[in-house]
Structures are given as C-alpha cells and as structure tokens.
C-alpha cells in the first residue's frame, strides 16, 4: 500500500531504515520535520541541539565514536555549522555521516536563497539531490553507503518544495529496535580525528583523490545502484537535471533525452560525456546556482543552455521552466492561457502575530519609541515586528545577530538608544556569546528577550530553556535571567508579556540604564504551548467605541470592523471575532475609552 509522505518524513524514514542511530538538529524551516519524524522511530537517540554547529559537533562526536549519524538543518544553519563542516571533511568519518540540509529557493521562510551544494563543493564532499519522497527515502540509504565506503560526510540536500511536498511511498511499519551504544573508543582507526595542521596537510591530497574516486564511482556503480536515471528519447536534445527540476523537465519535455543526476557534486563526468556524445546539444536545468553547469563547462563539455535561460534567482516552477525551455528553443511557444489578474484591487494579506501572542504588547510599546530608539531584531516569529502595523524592526540579519548589532551601533556612537530583540530559543542558539561581549565592552544596550517558552516559528520545538528534550524526556531548563546575571549583567528584570504598561515602564528603565547592557525578559507562553492560559474572551461595547483605531495598532487578527457605523466619524466600529480571541486583553489595555471588556 502506498501512503503520502513529505520529503522530510521520507528522509527520516530512509535514514532510520538504513540504520542511523544518533541524530542532532536545530529546527529551521523547511528542515524541521526531518528530526521530528526521526525522533519517533524506535531504537534511536535524537536531540535538539542549541544551534546548528552544536548539532553538527554532536554528530561528529557520536560518529567518531562509531555511531551512524545524521545532522539536519536549514540552508542558513549550515553557515553556523560551517567551521566544523570544513574540517570533518578533512578528517573523514569512521561511520556513516549524513548532513541533511534543506534549501529555500524563493526564500519563503528565510533570509536568503543560498544553495547548499556550494558547501558540498567548498568542503569537498558529495551531495545527493532527491527529486521526490520516494527518492528521499532511498537516497538516505545511499548516502549512508557512500559515506561509509568513502569515509566522507555526505550532504543529502532537500529544498522547500521537496521537504514540504507529499508524494507516494510504499507504506512501512517500523519493527522494534533497541538502541545500541558505542563500542570502546578505537584509537587506531585509519582516519585522523584530531585536525592539527600536520594532519590537514597530509589529508588534503587524500580529499582531492576522494573526490575523483567518488566521480568515478558515481559514473559506474552509482548508476547501477539507481542513484542516477537515464532516459534516451529524442536525441536532438539531452537534458541534464537534478532534484525537483527533474519533475518539471519530465512533464514539460516528455520526449527529450534526460540524464537525471542523483548526485550533483561531484558529477559523474564520464557518464555525462557519453550522454553528450549521443545527443546534438546538452541543456542543464537546475535550481539556484549553476553547480552542475560549471562542472561540465570546467571539464570542457559544451553546454548549449543553462543559466542563460533557467534563472539563478527564485524557485524553479513549471511556468519558469516552460519559459526557459521556450527561450532555449526546446518548446514551441503555445498561446498562454489567459492569466491576467482580475480588474479589482486585491489588498495584501501579510502574516501577523497570532491572537494572544505574547510578543504583541512589546511591539505595541516599542513602536512608540521610534524617535528615541532603534530596534535590532532577530529571527523568529518576532521578525514580524518588522511588518505593519508595528514596522518596529530597524535591522535584521541572522540568528543571534540582534545583540551584536545593537552593541556595535551603540559603541560606534549611535544617537538613538539601541534595543536588541531576541527570542528564547534564539538566545540559546547564539545570543549568549554576544551578550558576554556587550557586558565586557560595556555596551549600553537594552536586550529584550521575548521568552515564549518554545521555538515557535518552526512549529513549537523544545529548547534548553524549556527543559524537555526532543524525545520527551525531562532535561534541565536553563533560566535566562540567571544566565544574564552570571554573565555580569547588572540590570535583569522579568515582566508579564501581556502587561502593556508594565512592559513600557521596564523598557524605559532598561533604555536609561548605563555602564553595560540591561536585560529585560518578557515572559509569556506561546499560544500553541500547553502553558498558555486562555481567558474569557473580550468584546467591544458598541455604545462606547469611538472608532479611534488604537486597538488596530496591536495588530491582532481577532480585531475586526463591525458593520455598525459611528456617526461622528462615519467609520465602522470595532468588533472582536469570538472564535479567534484568546482573552489576552492587550486590546482592552490600549483602548482609550474603555470600550473593550470581558464578554459576559
């Protein structure tokens, strides 16, 4: 029987089937579900690490001890882990080591569109690119085999479209399995696990040879093992493609010859040369960077079309591939169906903080300090503080950057107060080191930790502050205020996230604090956690509403316009959607005429 699995779920299944024992990850869209699903299989240890580098280092340690391991992260997470990644390629691995990365073409939930295959190339290890869930599962097993055979880390690279699409795989009921620990540590294994300069110099030529061996293997046994797929059709055109791009090619160009690569780095050059000799012209269709195309061009294989017609920027879609194929002369330009938008104006619909969200009162307050303060934001749900109605984030770069940016702005002589805003999970990810630096250098910044007791944006994952592990065991929860005090912060205050005036007054004090950073922990559980307490919902007294619109400045999806008109202003009065309201009361606290109260 076939069932629908997402790419992430299928990769987790394949990794479990192939015998991965230990796995570590930091959540990040679109990679998160790989670890969530893997952790549910029997006989495995799976953990959330505090960040991606920690996850990778966990995997390296377990692997050096002899475990088959997996680390998972989103594309920008690989940046965090890159230091260790470069070197574990040099040391090599004694047991299977698979790094699952999920790229985000079109940056649907990310700060950029970087192509992780560049990392495989940069760090000189192979990259496998599945094209559907079934391949995700199968390639996870192949990745383990390749890793053990060549004693190399292997990247299994997904994209948002693969990770979050569901396609059919054969159903599988996992059998019981007991966790096997590690053997006694073997100090005599062939690989050097201590990357000293002498070791690096000795290993480098061996790594170069490993790449040549991998390319040769890929051309021969790789084919036999089903890593690649060749379909000879019309020989006037041969398309070399990989990953999700293959799906668009096979639908739009059903007659051409296709060489679909399951490993995009290093490419099976010999096989590609053979393919090229059998077709009139070679076309490369791949998403994001021209990784395959560059390898072919460098090897002297003529590429008729590639990135000249299939763009580097943005996700490939059927429409984009169609346009490229037409530009390359592979498809006739058929009259496009009428796809002009309707002749009516359609308002934008931005994402918003959820009703009851504990970040709301903070952003409502901070937008009032636009003349006095700048806000360095961070990565999480609170990135939405940059959107209307708050538009209260002035700089945003990467995970954990808020504190360092606010510090730099302040120490360089910024005229405005500098506020850094960071979530609890992000604080543990990469907020502690910059806070230490701010204390050390006496940066006068206000650090606001929006502590919602969960990693919210990626779908509610536990973290060091919650004290519950990925596999549901009791860990130890770390107190953020205690961490700040231990780092030498003199001003550490906690405040109820839904107390609008309380947040405001403590924020003022924090901004006035001198001689080092002030830390304010805004505490309130995410509405999706069990700790969030719903209260009786709010309602608007239409007799009192004067349509001033203050309540809309809290940006709550539950606050809507009613059909009742206030005669003085001619505007529609406010109403509260009883289905959406959680009773958090932030709107009632900002209403200047006390028109909002608890519903009876």
């Amino acid at each position: 029987m076939k069932v629908l699995l997402s790419g992430n779920e299928a990769i987790a299944l394949g990794a479990w089937e192939a015998g991965v024992q230990y796995a570590s990850a930091y959540p990040g869209t679109p990679s998160t579900e790989v670890m969530e699903r893997f952790a549910q299989y029997p006989g495995v240890r799976a953990e959330w690490a505090s960040n991606e580098k920690v996850a990778l280092d966990n995997a390296i340690g377990a692997c050096f001890g002899g475990a088959r391991v997996l680390a998972a992260m989103k594309h920008v997470g690989v940046n965090v882990a890159a230091d260790s990644l470069m070197s574990v390629s040099y040391t090599g691995v004694p047991a299977a080591f698979v790094l699952v990365t999920a790229d985000d073409p079109s940056a649907t939930s990310s700060q950029n569109e970087q192509d992780s295959r560049r990392y495989a190339q940069f760090a000189k290890f192979p990259c496998l690119d599945p094209a559907d869930s079934d391949e995700g599962r199968r390639f996870a097993g192949l990745a383990l085999d390749v890793s053990e055979r060549f004693q190399t880390p292997v990247m299994l690279r997904s994209t948002t479209r693969l990770s979050h699409s569901k396609s059919a795989v054969e159903a599988h009921v996992p059998e019981e399995r007991e966790y096997e620990g590690l053997p006694r540590y073997d100090r005599k294994v062939a690989i050097a696990r201590t990357i000293l300069p002498s070791v690096a110099r000795r290993r480098h030529p061996e790594i170069e040879q490993r790449l040549r061996d991998l390319a040769a293997w890929s051309s021969t046994e790789g084919f036999e093992r089903g890593l690649h797929h060749l379909r000879m059709g019309d020989r006037s055109v041969g398309v070399v493609t990989t990953g999700m791009a293959y799906q668009y090619v096979r639908e739009l160009l059903p007659d051409v010859s296709i060489l679909k690569l399951g490993m995009s780095y290093p490419v099976p050059l010999e096989k590609i040369r053979e393919f090229a000799s059998q077709v009139d012209q070679l076309v490369v269709v791949e998403e994001l960077e021209p990784i395959i195309e560059e390898q072919l061009v460098n090897a002297g294989i003529a590429v008729a079309h590639g990135k000249d017609v299939f763009p580097i920027c943005g996700e490939l879609t059927p429409a984009v591939v169609r346009a490229g194929a037409i530009a390359a002369g592979l498809l006739d330009s058929v009259p496009t169906p009428e796809t002009a938008p309707l002749d009516i104006e359609i308002p934008e619909r931005y994402p918003a903080l959820c009703p009851g969200c504990p970040h709301r009162a903070f952003f409502y307050n901070v937008r009032r300090y636009k003349r006095k303060a700048i806000v360095a934001g961070d990565i999480g749900c609170y990135s939405m503080g940059a959107l209307p109605p708050f538009t209260a984030v002035d700089m945003l770069i990467s995970m954990g950057a808020s504190i360092g940016m606010a510090h730099g702005f302040n120490r360089a002589g910024g005229q405005e107060a500098a506020i850094a805003v960071i979530g609890d999970s992000t604080f543990f990810h990469s907020g502690i080191a910059p806070l230490a630096s701010a204390v050390y250098n006496r940066a006068n910044i206000a650090v606001v930790v929006l502590d919602n007791r969960i990693t919210a944006m990626t779908g509610q994952q536990e973290h060091p502050g919650t004290g519950i592990t990925l596999q549901g065991e009791a860990g130890k929860d770390i107190d953020i205020a205690g961490v700040a005090r231990a780092l030498g912060v003199d001003f550490v205050e906690e405040i109820n996230a839904w107390d609008v005036d309380g947040v405001n007054s403590i924020l003022r004090k924090a901004m006035a604090h001198e001689n080092g950073p002030a830390v304010v922990i805004v505490r309130g559980a995410c509405v999706f956690t069990p700790y969030f307490k719903r209260q009786p919902i709010m309602r608007v007294d239409p007799e009192k509403c004067v349509t001033c619109g203050m309540c809309f400045n809290v940006g709550c999806p539950a606050i809507v316009r009613s059909d009742e008109i206030y005669e003085t202003s001619g505007k529609r009065k406010t109403a509260i959607d009883p289905l959406l309201c959680t009773g958090c009361s932030v709107c009632s606290q900002v209403c200047p005429v006390q028109a909002i109260g608890r519903a009876e």
Binding site: S165, Y248, E251, R349, A352, C354, P389
Partner: protein, 198 residues
C-alpha cells in the same frame, strides 16, 4: 460517469482555516482512486494569518507537485478575497469553488486598503471561470455541530464537482479526523454534498 484521469486542484485561503488538512485528504483521495498524487504547500512564515496555497495533482504519473499558473482545473477558495487573488491560476475552462466567507486582512482593518465589493468580486469570478460554486461553509459546519468541520463541507462540495465516487472521499475524511468528531464530519459531508449538487 467518465473516470477522472488527471486533475490540478489549487486550494487557497488564510492560515488557520484548515486548508492543510483538507489538502492532505484531497491528495489521499487521488491515491485511493488508483492514481498517482502529489501535494505541495508552503509552511512557516506564510502561515501566520497570511495567505495559504496548497497544490494537489492527480494523474497516472505526477511530476511537478505544484500546478502551473493557467492550468488549474479547480480553484478551491476558503475565502472570497483569496478566490480573487488566485483566479488567474485557473485555466479558461476551469471551475471555482468558493466559501462565502470574508476575512479582512490587516491592511483593510487599518484602513489602508479596501475589501472589494462582494457582488463585484463574485461577478468577476463568474466572468473568468466556466462555473462558480458558492458555498456558505461556516454556517453549514455549525449546523453539522462543529465549526471546525468547515473544511469537510468544502471537501464534500469539491467531491461533487469532480467525477469521483463520494464514498472514497467520505472514507478518506473519516480516516483522517479524530474519532470523536466522526459523527459531525459525517453530517458536514452530507451537507456539503447537497449544496454543490443543487
């Protein structure tokens, strides 16, 4: 009844309307009918009250998990404005199933944009699509006994617009919903079937 061989369905609406569950079920129905099926949507940032789009494709063998703009057979919109936003994905002879629900975006609440006139919106949809079926899914779900069965009402209406065995849909829905809500979903399914048939 001609057996359906391939269909491109685009389900759109607002985060929190139950679109992802509905799409999972619609894709599963494709498999249950003996076809290949894929579905695709974007999670994360886009979900928090923003626009949600989910693509479902059935065919003997499905390549792309997303539909191509201009080639959608059925647009299922859980909200009026989203029907208007996405109708340009429809092929000329495509059909629209739209839930008669209005959810004002923040830009409208803030007075920075206007929600289009509903009658004009529906007229524009009718001009573009071969057929537009309007369902009042929320009141029907309430009638069934639980507002959360709104997506079941929509799926039922969709099932009656495609040449497929309703039993396959009914079973796929009941397999997916929590056991204790089986009865209300059963009623919601029957109500949804009636609406689109009329």
């Amino acid at each position: 009844m001609t057996k359906i061989e391939r269909v491109n369905i685009l389900v759109v609406g607002v985060g929190g309307q139950g679109i992802i569950t509905a799409s999972d079920i619609a894709a599963q129905v494709g498999l249950d009918l003996g076809l290949d099926a894929k579905k695709s949507e974007v999670h994360g940032f886009a979900q928090r009250g923003g626009v949600v789009e989910s693509h479902i494709r059935w065919a003997p063998s499905v390549g792309s998990p997303t539909c191509e703009k201009g080639y959608v057979d059925v647009l299922v919109a859980f909200e009026l404005l989203e029907a208007a936003r996405w109708v340009d994905w429809l092929k000329p002879e495509g059909v629209v199933l739209v839930n008669h629900q209005r959810l004002d975006p923040m830009s409208v609440n803030l007075g920075k944009a206007a929600y289009p006139d509903e009658d004009e919106l529906l007229a524009a949809l009718r001009e573009r699509a071969k057929r537009v079926v309007v369902v009042d899914a929320l009141p029907l779900a309430e009638q069934a006994g639980n507002q959360r069965t709104m997506n079941t009402v929509m799926l039922a209406a969709l099932s009656s617009m495609l040449d497929t065995d309703p039993e396959v849909w009914r079973k796929a829905i009941l397999r997916r919903v929590p056991q204790k809500y089986a009865d209300v979903n059963e009623v919601a399914f029957q109500l949804g079937r009636q609406v689109a048939a009329s």
